[in-house]
C-alpha cells in the first residue's frame, strides 16, 4: 500500500520535534534557573505595582556573568579630562543615589516594571570632565557587549546606572554590579555588567545589536529596526 505524505503528517512530525526540543531545552535555556527570591524584594512602590526580579528573560549574549566585586573597577575613559577608575564601593559612596520606577521593554515582546536605585551617569561624567567634542557615551560590559547613547540624552533624562532593583542588590544574572537604566529606550540599550564608560565623538558608533540590524536610536516610540 502506498503511503501518502500529507502536509498534516509533516506538520505533526515538526510539531513533535519542536515539543521535544522545548522540553529538552526548557530546563536549561528557555527558562531561567531556579533562583531563590530575595526575601526583601519589594513588589509595590508608591502605589505602583512592580514586576519581580525573576520576571526577566535571560537573553544576554554570553549568559550571566559572575563579577568579583573585590577586583572590579569601573573605568571612565575616552574624551575626558581625567580618565578614572572606581572600585564598586567608591562608586556607591561618592555620589548621590536616586530611585526611579522605570519599565524595561524588550524587543522580544515582554516588559518589566522595576524600582531602580542607582546614581546619575552625569555625576560620574562631571567628575571625569567630558571634553567639548564628546558626543556619544559608549558602554562596555564584562561579556564584551557594547551599546551607545548620545551624551545629551544621558544628561537631559537623568539616566541612572543601577546597583539595586526592587530594593535588592542586582543579582549576577541581572547585571551586578551595574546596569544601565535606559529610560524610553528598547531593552538592548539596558546594558548589564558595565565595566567601562567611554566618551567618544563617533556619532556613527553602533553597539552589539545595533550593528546586527537593530535601531541605533532605539526609541520606544519608533520601530526597533532601521537607522
Amino acid at each position: 500500500m502506498k503511503k501518502v505524505i500529507t502536509g498534516r503528517s509533516i506538520l505533526f512530525v515538526v510539531l513533535s520535534v519542536m515539543l521535544v526540543a522545548i522540553i529538552a531545552l526548557g530546563g536549561n535555556i528557555g527558562c531561567s534557573q531556579t533562583e531563590v527570591l530575595a526575601p526583601n524584594e519589594i513588589r509595590e512602590y508608591e502605589g505602583a505595582d512592580l514586576s519581580s526580579i525573576n520576571d526577566f528573560r535571560e537573553n544576554s549574549i554570553k549568559g550571566p556573568q559572575e563579577i568579583n566585586v573585590d577586583s572590579y573597577m569601573l573605568r571612565i575613559t575616552g574624551l575626558v579630562m581625567n580618565s578614572t577608575n572606581y572600585t564598586y564601593d567608591e562608586v556607591l559612596n561618592m555620589y548621590q543615589r536616586y530611585k526611579k520606577v522605570v519599565t524595561l521593554d524588550c524587543v522580544e515582546g515582554w516588559s518589566v516594571t522595576i524600582l531602580w536605585e542607582g546614581l546619575l551617569i552625569s555625576d560620574l561624567l562631571a567628575e571625569a570632565g567630558p571634553l567639548e567634542n564628546a558626543e556619544v557615551v559608549i558602554f562596555h560590559a564584562y561579556d564584551g557587549y557594547t551599546t551607545s547613547l548620545p551624551i545629551d540624552y544621558i544628561i537631559d533624562n537623568d539616566i541612572l546606572i543601577a546597583y539595586k532593583m526592587n530594593d535588592v542588590v542586582l543579582p549576577p544574572e541581572r547585571g551586578f554590579p551595574f546596569q544601565l537604566v535606559a529610560e524610553s529606550k528598547w531593552g538592548y540599550k539596558w546594558i548589564k555588567w558595565i565595566t567601562e564608560i567611554e566618551l567618544s565623538d563617533d556619532v556613527d558608533y553602533r553597539g552589539y545589536w545595533e550593528s546586527r540590524g537593530y535601531s541605533n536610536s532605539a526609541d520606544l516610540d519608533d520601530s526597533y529596526f532601521g537607522d
Binding site: A21, E108, R212, Y214
Partner: protein
C-alpha cells in the same frame, strides 16, 4: 485533481511551510544563541524577528482559509442546490 482539491492542497502546504517558518524564527528570536550557530550564522536574531513579524498576517489568513474554506464551499454548494 479538481480545482477545489488543488486549492485545498496548496493552502495546506503553504500553511505547513508558514507554521514551520513561524516556529523556527520564533526560536531564532528567543534562542538565538542556539539557532544562529545551527544555521551557520544565516538566521540571525534580527532576521528571524523580521521574518517572524512579516509572516504573521499571511499565517492568520491561511489559517482562516484552511479552517473555513471547506465549510464555506459546502455551504455555498448546498445553497446553490436549493436554489436550483
Amino acid at each position: 485533481m479538481t480545482n477545489q482539491q488543488l486549492v485545498r492542497k496548496s493552502i495546506q502546504w503553504i500553511l505547513t511551510a508558514l507554521v514551520i517558518i513561524y516556529l523556527i524564527t520564533g526560536f531564532g528570536i528567543t534562542e538565538y544563541r542556539i539557532v544562529e550557530p545551527l544555521t551557520f550564522g544565516l538566521l540571525t536574531k534580527s532576521l528571524a524577528q523580521k521574518i517572524h513579524i512579516s509572516i504573521e498576517i499571511p499565517f492568520i489568513v491561511f489559517l482562516i482559509l484552511h479552517i473555513w474554506l471547506l465549510p464555506l464551499l459546502k455551504h455555498f454548494r448546498s445553497k446553490k442546490l436549493v436554489n436550483e
